[in-house]
Symmetry: C2
Subunit: 321 residues, 2 copies
């Protein structure tokens, strides 16, 4: 049994990870400012294990369990400001992503904990004309402040390892989707699959930025969680970087049609200007994560979308009954 801290634990990926860690018998503490997290995602957790603070002050918090200081063994750092709002509010992105990472590393240093940091696969250069997969060694090409701040955070991990010996492992997620992922207009957070599912289920049209032929490597949330836990359990401690992905690319248009087919009806598509800094092609190799700690995605896009829709329909029936 480990003492685990999950930053951003009330959010989408975070809450799935919390469930997994708790199911495995660990003592799980969540830190979340609830800007995009929800208490209802943490129904399995006791209130005293939930800390409502910004991540960038986490090194100053006294974490207690029944009046005694908790010493964390594992820190899963998932709290983030979203890519979609980083051009609108680059200062907030720096605050949450850069300062948040330093705070987590300072906390890990104090607790002698290992950190798994969920970074961003969009950092890597992707050539829209090339085919084949992108690897961890692709040159860096951040196209938004978010990408830049995630890259800076990766460097902070390396520096804290080299100078202070803080153990960490970095995972770069492809595009994660699944149950509980929400659209948050206030944060400009409109995850692709969740937005399509929400709109089509509500019989509303969808907006596609650009021609919809840009591709995504879509990883189901339970696969992402599997990778994060394996990264923590691995003996990688030197801030090395691993892509967690499916090595499969799907166009945004194809994602829409898969969602619409699964739900059973189609709604209108409004094609607009491409987003600034948008990523054209996403297909990431997970070979390194597979070889190093046995990561292997289990769910196809069809599986994942079916599970999401089943979950939402069950919720709706429950709400309506």
């Amino acid at each position: 049994m480990s003492n685990c801290l999950v930053t951003g634990g009330a959010g989408f990926v975070g809450s799935h990870l919390v469930e997994e860690l708790a199911n495995n018998g660990n003592n799980v503490v969540v830190l979340d400012n609830f800007s995009n997290g929800h208490m209802k995602n943490l129904s399995s957790l006791h209130d005293s294990n939930i800390y409502r603070w910004d991540v960038q002050i986490c090194h100053e918090i006294d974490f207690k369990h029944r009046g005694k200081d908790i010493i964390f063994d594992q820190i899963y750092h998932l709290a983030t400001a979203p890519r979609s709002s980083s051009l609108v509010n680059p200062f907030q992105d720096i605050e949450t992503n850069c300062k948040g990472m330093i705070a987590v590393l300072e906390l890990a240093r104090k607790h002698n904990a290992k950190v798994v940091f969920t970074s961003n696969s969009g950092i890597a250069y992707n050539n829209p004309k090339a085919s084949g997969s992108i690897h961890e060694f692709a040159p860096n090409n951040p196209t938004t402040p978010y990408d830049t701040d995630k890259l800076a955070s990766e460097y902070y991990c390396k520096i804290y390892h080299n100078i202070y010996g803080v153990k960490s492992c970095i995972v770069r997620f492809a595009t994660v989707y699944g149950e509980r992922q929400v659209v948050n207009e206030a944060l400009n957070w409109r995850p692709l699959v969740a937005t399509f599912v929400k709109n089509v289920m509500n019989h509303e049209g969808v907006i596609i930025n650009g021609d919809g032929e840009q591709t995504r490597d879509l990883i189901y949330v339970k696969d992402a969680v599997q990778g994060v836990v394996k990264a923590m359990e691995s003996d990688v401690n030197n801030a090395d970087i691993f892509l967690l992905s499916t090595n499969t690319e799907t166009s945004v248009n194809k994602v829409y049609s898969t969602v619409a087919k699964t739900i059973g009806h189609f709604t209108p598509i409004d094609y607009t200007e491409p987003l600034p800094g948008d990523i054209k092609r996403m297909r990431y190799s997970y070979e390194k994560a597979h070889k190093t700690f046995g990561f292997e995605p289990k769910y196809t896009l069809n599986d994942g979308i079916e599970r999401m829709i089943k979950f939402l329909r069950a919720q709706t029936e429950y709400t309506n009954s």
Copy 2:
């Protein structure tokens, strides 16, 4: 005549740049929080041209000249938190260096001004065992939060150019020295040459971190200013990066003996542990800056150190008379 803003203009390099720009007939405005700047460095400037604010809010300041808004043509962004304190206070480093850069780019966007950003040559990987010069294309290898934040700032420049068309040119300074450079213990700011000069002139011993065989590429402040002005006048607008250096490396031990010889006496040396993240070898090629906008350093290390000591002796005589 241009309207020029110099952030960090009350500091060491900044004040030399302000002098040069004012001598060339430009309208010069200084923004400085005076954490390491001094009013006495700005004797040539009217008080109404000096704004005492943190750089990270510069995009929110109403800059006025005789009651009318100033529209800047040129922004020289020199304000920085020092490398030496970035491990002690990485949060402040992010605040000043990352947020400061975004604020400058937002200001440039509003004014349609060109930015010259003074970055950091320490970003580049330097192999202690290799000989030869380091170029702009050397792989990135930030070893402190400061390096990381300067690298992030370079990426912000590129992103603001790609997305908003903000014009910028990035220069990476080698180790700058010269008159008015000060030791600031509160900021852990102990520039190599200035510290040696101060201690030896005061008949005090010096501390050398490590064995003193680590090398520096030392550029005299007037050469650095020459490069910055040429970068601004060039037609480089796409956030391209240029090293401003001398392509000459000098060991820390040799710097000490040059200072002591020029002053005329030697004081004891106390060798201590190497600093974390310290740079082992510095010899940077300025070929790209030379070819692109005619940069060429004019002062040798002996010239520069002699000028510094002459300046300090004149000051001391003035103070004592």
